[in-house]
Symmetry: C2
Subunit: 264 residues, 2 copies
């Protein structure tokens, strides 16, 4: 290429993260009655990194100022929300479509849990296909023909005695599972604050000192019981998984108590 070529450099290829971003699922509310629910939906979406909200004939008109307070700051989702006259145009660009609904025993459909839906949506995205999830009207849900236009049904497993979910709560559970599917937060992790986990050697030194102090101070009254009692004490301390700083605190406690005892 001529060094003086004035044409701009080619645009960088979209990186993987931007491709994934554009394949995040759309949330489609069909004829929502209350703008408050649209606001709460936006909040739940933003909690979980979703940003494509589509409204099919919202009953209270749009934009509707009652939505904003319930969004609690998820304004970007509300501002980007799009309104459609009918369901077909709302979902025209999507490849996969799911209906959230109570059980429909009269249609031959696959019924998914929200967790499975999340896995499927991510799977479709890997294959380059974009998904949408339909949520019905507050009182009557989705019509049969609307459900029939979807690839599968999503049903949230709840106590059969009380399955009534608010619209935004249903959106939250679907969006939550979508976020969890790829989130890498460890299931259980220890916050170390300003210390670090104690090493086995730091623990050994403390245990040797503690045992010697207990022997010296007559804690073990019956020699045969000593091994069992000592194991119990070690288990108690080890279950707490002390930090290096906490081992120093334990040394300090021991020093203080030994010091108090001697003068008696």
């Amino acid at each position: 290429m001529d060094a003086a070529d004035p044409s701009p450099a080619p645009a960088p290829a979209a990186d993987d993260s931007s491709v994934t971003r554009s394949l995040k699922p759309a949330i489609i509310l069909v004829e929502p009655q209350l703008a408050e629910n649209i606001g709460a939906t936006a909040r739940a979406m933003k909690n979980c990194g979703l940003d494509d909200l589509r409204l099919v004939q919202p009953r209270g008109g749009w934009p509707n100022e009652a939505a904003w307070p319930m969004a609690s700051g998820a304004d970007s989702v509300l501002e980007a929300a799009r309104v459609f006259d009918d369901l077909d145009s709302a979902v025209a660009d999507l490849e996969r479509l799911y209906a959230t609904t109570a059980r429909h025993r009269d249609m031959v459909k696959h019924e998914l849990t929200p967790r499975r839906l999340a896995a499927e949506i991510h799977g479709h995205a890997v294959a380059g296909a974009r998904s949408g999830v339909l949520f019905g009207r507050e009182r009557i849900g989705l019509l049969n023909d609307e459900v029939a236009s979807c690839d599968a049904i999503v049903v949230v497993p709840l106590d059969p005695a009380f399955t009534s979910l608010n619209l935004a709560q249903a959106v939250l559970l679907i969006a939550y599972e979508y976020f969890q599917e790829r989130d890498e937060t460890p299931a259980r992790v220890r916050i170390e604050a300003d210390s670090r986990a104690a090493t086995r050697d730091e623990l050994r030194v403390f245990f040797e000192r503690l045992e010697a102090s207990l022997v010296e101070n007559g804690f073990f009254r019956v020699e045969e019981m000593r091994p069992v009692q000592w194991r119990k004490i070690r288990n108690l301390v080890l279950r707490a998984e002390p930090t290096e700083q906490e081992v120093r605190i334990l040394h300090g406690i021991l020093s203080a108590l030994e010091g108090r005892k001697r003068p008696r």
Copy 2:
């Protein structure tokens, strides 16, 4: 025992299900500001089979009629809710205690996801121990000393850019994971409606008829392409996993189209 012994039969031993029921976790709201949130909390709890709601100094007093509309029928939870003057008395009977909170980098604590918490709560119940989950004030959450009184912290993994959850939404996510942990809903199941899955033999008969009909009607124009095209057609039909009734519908469609074609 004397057959005429008038003493009542011994009470039946509590069965496993009743033991499990009594070990369901308690939900403890610390100084909730809005009765509406208490109502929405009750609804989320009942969705997930929880019934032990404890209120520590609810700011609007209790009972508060603003809670009932938001409970949407979860009245039993509200009616059984108990009010306490302080946190210690609210949790006195519990063996395990968890704090829902944003990250606390200044305490050495284990931090759990809601999913892991659900597994732990069920594990404690198997060992006979009952858990409680603390939820803090709407604006300022839990105080440091309240967090320190808990065994571990629970943090909901959400988009770091927008982690603000409504109180009842936080309860819903915790209760939802608790319910999912033991729920046995299959991740993906086919609703069969009034039919049943077609057998391989019913599919084979249909495919043989379809292939013969396509051959007879000149669908396969290039003989070398026929195996590939036929595989594509079979894959399309099989991906739909047809029911026995749907195979009959497909036969009917074939009959109708063959009938229409002949007169031409």
